[in-house]
């Protein structure tokens, strides 16, 4: 994913086990529900947040956070 190309965050809900780290890295797009699972705002991530979004994906212990190129 090159910079400047809009991408958005997605979560694989089957893989997600609710560790909640993604919400700590990317509170701008991810909040947690009362059971600890992410509620994701799929609005494309602006350039200045892309690094954090990647970080959120990388830090997920279940590798459930995906960055997808917005269509």
């Amino acid at each position: 994913m090159t910079a400047g190309r809009a991408s958005s965050v997605r979560v694989d809900p089957v893989a997600c086990t609710g560790h909640g780290l993604c919400a700590a890295w990317l509170p701008e797009r991810i909040e947690l529900d009362e059971w600890g699972y992410p509620i994701v705002d799929a609005t494309p991530v602006p350039d200045e947040l892309v690094a954090m979004a990647r970080r959120a994906a990388k830090e997920c212990p279940a590798r459930a956070v995906l960055l997808t190129r917005a269509v």
């Binding site: 086990t17 609710g18 560790h19 909640g20 780290l21 700590a24 890295w25 059971w35 600890g36 990388k58 830090e59 212990p61 279940a62 590798r63």
Partner: protein, 187 residues
């Protein structure tokens, strides 16, 4: 010079033990899901990783100084191949074994994004074996009897034991639900 190296070996071993213990406890608390203070998860994960990496530095120092100092004869090969040392073969071998495990855990964690989640997890689980092996190595290979050293060893033991008990008892609702659902017939 040799004396200084010897002290460095001992000191880095003690620091490594303390760091290894803290890191293991943090890891157990992180993986047991209904952890106290769920908000602190973020900090815990960061601390777990940072302390582990700092520990790697101290372990490296411990191994380097053990090989370089000449009171006892430990060669480069026996630093990497378990039970190949002519000096104190068994106890030094345990240290080597834990070093190898540490290398495996560290390398797979650094490459975590590129290897399968399952492979990472399997290797990471060996950290539970790493700790007792390293502690045994410390007990057998050292001759320390200072209260400070014994006290440190004892408190590390208490910490790991209590975290282990907590980890076994902690109810991970996510895991439990998944397991129950998976047992229903889906074929």
């Amino acid at each position: 010079m040799n004396a200084a190296l010897w002290y460095l070996t001992r000191a880095s071993a003690l620091v490594s033990l303390a760091l290894l213990t803290t890191s293991l406890v943090l890891g157990m608390v992180t993986s047991g899901r209904s952890a106290p203070l769920a908000e602190g998860r973020f900090v815990r994960a960061a601390l777990h990783r940072t302390l582990s990496l700092v520990m790697v530095v101290f372990v490296a120092a411990h191994v380097l100084t053990s090989v370089i100092e000449t009171y006892v004869d430990i060669g480069w090969l026996s630093a990497l191949v378990p039970f190949s040392s002519s000096y104190d073969r068994f106890w030094v071998g345990l240290g080597t074994l834990s070093l190898d495990l540490l290398i495996a855990v560290t390398v797979t964690s650094i490459l975590r994004q590129r290897i399968s989640h399952r492979a990472w997890k399997l290797v990471h689980w060996t950290a539970y074996a790493l700790w007792p092996i390293a502690v045994l190595h410390g007990i057998g290979a050292s001759t320390a009897d200072q209260p400070l050293v014994l006290g440190l060893a004892a408190s590390c033991g208490v910490a790991v034991l209590s975290a282990g008990v907590w980890r076994l008892c902690a109810v991970d609702l996510d895991r439990r639900q998944r397991k129950l659902a998976g047992l229903q017939g889906w074929r």
